[in-house]
């Protein structure tokens, strides 16, 4: 296999700030005649530092990492929009990016005019565009609006047309960055199918996404970028698992505590989460018990309050289930001063990932909000992959189970 793309110890430095004004430039040049001024390192940011990798013909490479890890910078360098500060970049063949769709559109021009314009910007020849024109129109589903200026388009139409043009450039190397969030569900599906079939045709692609499920499904290899460095590179299952472990940890540590809602009549000092052995921890094993202890302070006596504890998936924010006194028709006589309330969740059937804990407290009449719906803590379910790695095909088995839903419910196949 031959490399069609190569990064050799590439670094990219950005200078921050708004850039100098004409006056500053004049001042600097005059000063520069007297002595050579050095650049100010405080105003600089290393977006990439000494990054090396290769992409082989037909390979699909994925990039993951938190915001600011250098993923977009990598794509910008690959697409030649910007050049590295140091290091070498080598690419072979036509590179096209599904990065910013419709970036070349002009609002005053019609859909038809913009197809030709954007196609040319993306490097297509006029006759190629004419040949694929009908395909592009059909894909974007804007048949009736071809001669309408795109400024009159809905944002969905705009994005669809943008994707349709970019998708029909048929490059040798395709760069994809978070584009799957355009248009409605049906169109997103269409885009995903398109990218998938393109990739399955053996095209070299580079894929950047926060959608780890898509990354896992589409990529042959994954690079985890962290603050401009390659943290890990390898087979998707392994890299994603370690990446998620780290993300989970961060999600729990950085639980926001928004106490700004001054209407709250009680104060939450925190949560104490403990496992089945009574040890205080935020890492709970799958199918084991968890005890949540809410530490509160009620400056005034509150008669028969109702507590509701919600558990939600940390990454999506999707609420999963609750322990809800309102529904249980259960209350406590009163709270006053500093105290605590505990709730035990038995045999948590959750998949290994991070979860948030939300709290809501109502007063005696059930309508009065005493503590407004807010995240008060979080925990994560430990992955028992060490155990599972011995069961069957490693790649198929271990691969990234956490993307597949939130619950683990016992089931059996019946033939």
């Amino acid at each position: 296999m031959s490399a069609v793309m190569k990064f050799e110890s590439v670094s990219k430095k950005y200078s921050l700030g708004s850039g100098e004004s004409f006056r500053e430039m004049l001042a600097r040049t005059t000063a520069g005649i007297l002595r050579r001024s050095s650049s100010n390192p405080q105003n600089e940011l290393m977006a990439l530092e000494n990054v090396s990798f290769e992409v082989n013909q037909g390979e699909v490479l994925g990039f993951i990492g938190t915001n600011g890890a250098g993923k977009t910078t990598t794509l910008k360098i690959l697409s030649k929009v910007t050049r590295p500060t140091s290091g070498k970049v080598f690419t072979e063949g036509r590179v096209s990016s599904l990065i910013e769709l419709g970036a070349g559109f002009h609002p005053d021009l019609t859909g038809r005019e913009n197809i030709y314009l954007n196609g040319a910007i993306l490097g297509m020849e006029r006759k190629d565009i004419s040949k694929r024109f009908d395909e592009i129109v059909a894909f974007s589903e804007i048949e009736g609006f071809l001669d309408t200026p795109v400024k009159r388009y809905s944002s969905g139409m705009y994005a669809r047309l943008g994707f349709a043009v970019a998708a029909h450039v048929s490059p040798d190397i395709l760069l994809v960055d978070e584009v799957l969030s355009v248009g409605d569900e049906a169109f997103q599906m269409k885009c995903r199918d398109f990218i998938r079939s393109y990739i399955e045709d053996g095209h070299t692609s580079i894929f950047v996404s926060h959608n780890l499920y898509a990354i896992e499904q589409l990529c042959d290899r994954v690079i985890w970028l962290d603050k401009g460095h390659i943290r890990q590179m390898g087979e998707p299952g392994t890299v994603l698992r370690e990446y998620l472990d780290e993300v989970d940890k961060r999600l729990i540590v950085s639980v926001p505590q928004d106490e700004a809602a001054s209407a709250n009549r009680i104060k939450i000092h925190g949560l104490e989460i403990s496992n089945e052995h009574g040890e205080v921890t935020t890492s709970i094993e799958q199918n084991k018990d968890m005890l949540i202890k809410v530490l509160y302070e009620a400056p005034q006596r509150i008669e028969s309050p109702f507590f509701c504890i919600w558990i939600s998936e940390a990454q999506s924010g999707l609420p999963l289930f609750s322990a809800n006194m309102l529904l249980d028709d259960h209350t406590i006589p009163y709270i006053e001063g500093i105290g605590s309330l505990s709730c035990r969740f038995n045999k948590l059937p959750l998949m290994p990932k991070a979860y948030n804990i939300w709290l809501e407290v109502y007063g005696q009449d059930r309508a009065q909000l005493i503590y407004k719906w807010n995240i008060v803590g979080g925990f994560r379910i430990l992955d028992d992959y060490q155990k599972r790695e011995f069961a069957g095909d490693r790649r198929g088995e271990v691969r990234f189970s956490r993307a597949h839903g939130a619950f683990k419910i016992p089931y059996e196949w019946i033939n």
């Binding site: 929009v81 002009h106 314009l117």
Partner: protein, 260 residues
């Protein structure tokens, strides 16, 4: 490096064409008169100048009828000034493209100049009408026209590249342009004939490349040969400006997306 750049540009010639067409389309989209504005701009300036400098100031014109005298200079001058005012901000006003998609960046200023050139051709039609109305006979010296146009375009490119590269970092250029163009016009024989420039200043005066070009546009119409010794000096300046502007632009090109 130079040939490599030209090759790259040649590869993107399709885009250059489409982009120039876009510039023209966009300029007259959603305007009632459309392309007629290309004529109306120099034409209305000509009317104003004819009234003020002709009938009020009574500017000597070496015997040329006022409308012809002013229009023959305003036509190329409008081409020059509108090229510069569109080409210099072309990178900044297409920030979206520059930061997201790769293509040779000089396509943007070149496209603006091409669009202005098409306006120039449209506005030339009126010139022909004026020549017929005033029964100006066609002279062989008109064969110099392509040379003058080529020189002017080269100069326009040079200044556009320089300005477009500078405005990315220094938005001050935006304010300098209208001011600079106004000043430049008065340093060029547009509203007055070259013959009014005092003899002892002429050499200095002709260091302004547009001065010789504009004077020649007017001269060749009446069968006067261009003052080639001036033009030769100006050509040297123009070639230097063009080379400097283009190399400066290409040197800065890599950082456009980062600092724009």
């Amino acid at each position: 490096m130079f040939t490599q750049n030209i090759q790259e540009l040649y590869k993107f010639r399709g885009l250059l064409w489409v982009w120039s067409m876009r510039e023209i389309r966009v300029r007259y989209k959603q305007s009632l008169l459309g392309g007629i504005w290309a004529i109306l701009q120099p034409f209305s300036s000509m009317l104003i100048f004819t009234f003020i400098f002709g009938f009020i100031v009574k500017m000597p014109t070496d015997g040329i009828p006022y409308p012809i005298f002013f229009y023959s200079a305003l036509l190329p001058w409008t081409f020059f000034s509108s090229s510069i005012s569109f080409a210099v901000p072309s990178l900044v006003s297409n920030l979206n493209l520059v930061t997201k998609i790769y293509f040779p960046r000089e396509i943007l200023p070149i496209g603006a100049v091409v669009a202005a050139f098409i306006d120039f051709i449209i506005a030339s039609l009126l010139y022909i009408v004026l020549l017929i109305i005033y029964q100006v006979p066609l002279k062989l010296t008109l064969l110099w026209l392509p040379v003058l146009i080529a020189m002017q375009i080269l100069l326009t490119f040079g200044i556009s590249f320089l300005g477009a590269a500078l405005i990315v970092s220094y938005r001050d250029i935006r304010f300098i342009i209208p001011l600079g163009l106004q000043l430049w016009m008065y340093l060029t024989p547009v509203v007055y004939p070259f013959s009014m420039v005092p003899e002892r200043f002429r050499l200095l005066y002709m260091l302004n490349p547009m001065a010789g070009i504009i004077d020649s546009y007017r001269g060749i119409l009446l069968g006067r040969m261009p003052q080639w010794e001036y033009l030769a000096v100006e050509l040297v300046i123009i070639v230097f400006l063009f080379a400097f502007g283009y190399l400066f632009f290409k040197r800065k090109e890599a950082s456009f997306a980062d600092i724009i």
